[in-house]
């Protein structure tokens, strides 16, 4: 009988503890459901940016880079432009009516960001430490190497970096580019012009013998003059990371751009069609000797968005 009573008491105590713990957990769950999210949302970040509330976004692009950033018949096209359109749409600026395209020359990219004449620059912008002291970068969205392109008449004469050092050959590149510095490191005498396009017209006019730049930029000009030029297989210098430039004063915008580039990267990793892949196949893809994939984005912030609950598989 005593054993029976003891078991009954134990059960009562167990029930009491279970009821108390269940109510405590339920209360904790209730408090949890009303708490503000610890991780900021995309919209929270957007409110911190300097573009929030602007009716349009100003994006600096090249107008003279075939396949990358080009203005033809009043329409902007190219890989950089497609990436810019994707990022702008994610930020709330879908369609060219909401984008103010601002033509920027290679050497004007940093001043344009510093002066506020553009909100971001998407113009084959190499992410370097020197530049990162003046502006912020989100990316990379492309990794390229520096290459040289020569007219077909010189394809058997210029075949290596040593050949470019030959004072007989005039090598051209655009001012303010990483290629200019890299050629200098290799003791190559270089003729600096404003745009790579000027080098191309210079070679066609017989003023220069070779042009050096990013492989993507050169692929663009090769697509324009396939019967006049050839790219020499001699990548030099370190590979370059191409990113989106944003004002250094707006870390929230940098975070958002990085977040959206990473979103595209994650889609591509899963084997899905990503905005990056679509842009690549529409522009650069057919002209690249080795197919490229989107590189992983650096310094991606943790943000929550409305589509986070969607199935991943």
């Amino acid at each position: 009988m005593n054993q029976f009573l003891t078991r009954s008491r134990v059960r009562s105590v167990a029930t009491t503890v279970a009821v108390a713990l269940t109510l405590t957990l339920a209360a904790a769950a209730g408090c949890d459901s009303r708490q503000e999210p610890e991780i900021p949302s995309v919209n929270d970040k957007l409110r911190e940016t300097h573009i929030y509330g602007q009716p349009t976004i100003k994006i600096g692009v090249s107008t003279t880079g075939p396949l990358m950033g080009e203005l033809r018949g009043g329409t902007y096209s190219g890989f950089d432009v497609e990436i810019a359109r994707y990022v702008a749409a994610q930020l709330g600026y879908e369609g060219d009516k909401r984008i103010e395209w601002v033509p920027v020359a290679t050497e004007d990219r940093i001043p344009a960001l510093q002066g506020g004449s553009v909100d971001m620059v998407v113009s084959t912008f190499s992410m370097t430490e020197e530049r990162a002291k003046l502006i912020s970068f989100a990316g990379p969205y492309l990794v390229t190497t520096q290459e040289a392109m020569v007219p077909l008449r010189l394809k058997d004469s210029i075949r290596s970096i040593e050949d470019l050092r030959d004072p007989r050959y005039k090598v051209c590149t655009s001012g303010g580019s990483t290629t200019e510095a890299e050629l200098g490191r290799h003791q190559i005498r270089v003729f600096v012009v404003k745009e790579v396009g000027d080098c191309i017209s210079g070679i066609l006019a017989g003023r220069y013998d070779a042009v050096s730049s990013d492989e993507t930029i050169l692929a663009g000009f090769l697509s324009k003059h396939p019967r006049d030029f050839t790219i020499i297989d001699m990548p030099f210098g370190t590979s370059e990371q191409i990113g989106v430039g944003v004002p250094i004063s707006d870390p929230a915008l940098r975070d958002l751009v990085a977040f959206f580039l990473d979103k595209s990267y994650q889609q591509g990793r899963k084997g899905q069609t990503s905005p990056w892949l679509t842009a690549y196949h529409r522009t650069l893809g057919p002209w690249m000797r080795a197919p490229k994939v989107q590189p992983p984005t650096l310094d991606v912030p943790k943000l929550v968005d409305f589509d986070d609950k969607a199935p991943r598989t």
Binding site: S12, T16, L21, G30, P37, D307
Partner: protein, 348 residues
């Protein structure tokens, strides 16, 4: 139904419940009053909430409230309310039935003890209604809180492990197998929660199934009265607390309407469409005020999510987000792609 009280007598180890006091006229009246009060609450609360929501949605403006009353039909209003408040309603009902059954079986042992309100409500509720409440909770509660339904269900129907098998060894094996399967299902989620430093998530997933084993049964006499008073007040406070966001949840869907006011001049209006006729689209703007937009100026309209839909956790159970209910999770599998339109971001 009296299902909870009736099943309480199946306990093989506990004291046999003493016979209840013979029901007289007084107890019949009390039972009738309890029944009336219960059904009054179940019917009146949604109706009052629906009307309150219109007032809140209108921004407290009388004329705007009247505009909404004139254009939001009662069926739409009730359907909208049930969509957003089903979770709250089922939570309230589950709490009442679980606590009512535990308190009921506890006072059964104490002759002459006045039955607490929740126990009386549990007594008069039909079994199908209790089961339906749990089913609604099962499909509307976020996965994160679903494990709490296990102890609640065991309490409401006074289910004990003894029901599983007569032999203690067999019972232990069955419970161990069930718990093992449960942990296997949740293992990746628990590991992620551990890595992300989410102790509450770990507790909410692991502890409730254990509590379900011990929750059925009578409480000690000394606990019944304070528990009854405290929980009745707590459930009431909890419902009021949880009801506030439900009252402020919009009745109408959130949209962004692109309006062309002049050639090449467009404006995004963020708000809720009240009504559309041949002349105007009436928009209740998110920042307040009603705007009548001539129908020929409307160029585009998109549906936008609200900030309340943003997740707080980054955890999934077998690819179902922990903050999704079963219903929402299954819905996302039917329409997996969710695209936030650019217009929803651009306007603040």
């Amino acid at each position: 139904m009296t299902a909870p009280a009736a099943t309480g007598g199946n306990d093989v180890d506990a004291d046999p419940p003493p016979p209840r006091v013979a029901p007289g006229r007084g107890s019949d009246e009390r039972r009738a009053r309890a029944s009336q009060s219960f059904w009054a609450v179940v019917v009146a609360v949604p109706a009052i909430f629906s009307v309150l929501r219109l007032g809140v949605e209108a921004g407290g403006e009388l004329q705007t409230t009247l505009l909404l009353v004139a254009n939001v039909g009662p069926v739409n209003l009730l359907a909208g309310f049930l969509t957003t408040a089903a979770r709250l309603l089922s939570t309230g009902l589950v709490c009442v039935f679980a606590l009512g059954a535990v308190l009921g079986v506890s006072v059964d042992r104490l002759p002459g003890y006045r039955r607490p309100l929740f126990a009386r409500w549990a007594d008069i509720t039909p079994a199908w209604f209790v089961v339906a409440s749990f089913l609604i909770a099962l499909v509307t509660w976020p996965l994160l809180y679903l494990p709490l339904l296990l102890p609640a269900f065991a309490a409401a129907f006074q289910l004990r492990p003894e029901r599983l098998h007569d032999l203690a060894v067999a019972r232990t094996l069955i419970v161990a197998a069930l718990f093992g399967g449960y942990l296997f299902l949740l293992a990746p989620t628990l590991l992620d929660a551990w890595r992300q430093g989410e102790p509450l998530v770990l507790a909410l997933f692991v502890v409730p199934p254990v509590l379900a084993l011990a929750i059925a049964g009578p409480l000690p006499g000394a606990v019944i009265r304070p528990l009854a008073s405290v929980t009745e007040a707590a459930v009431l406070v909890m419902l009021v607390w949880a009801a506030l966001p439900v009252i402020s949840t919009p009745v109408l869907p959130l949209t962004v309407t692109t309006v062309q006011t002049a050639p090449d001049v467009t404006e995004d209006v963020r708000g809720h469409v009240v009504v559309v006729d041949d002349v105007n689209m009436v928009l209740l703007q998110e920042r307040g005020g009603v705007r009548y937009v001539p129908i020929d100026q409307v160029k585009e309209q998109v549906l936008c999510p609200s900030e309340e839909e943003l997740p707080r956790h980054r955890l999934r159970v077998r690819d179902f987000h922990v903050e999704d209910s079963l219903m929402e999770g299954l819905g996302r599998r039917v329409r997996p792609v969710h695209r936030v339109d650019a217009s929803c971001r651009a306007t603040g």
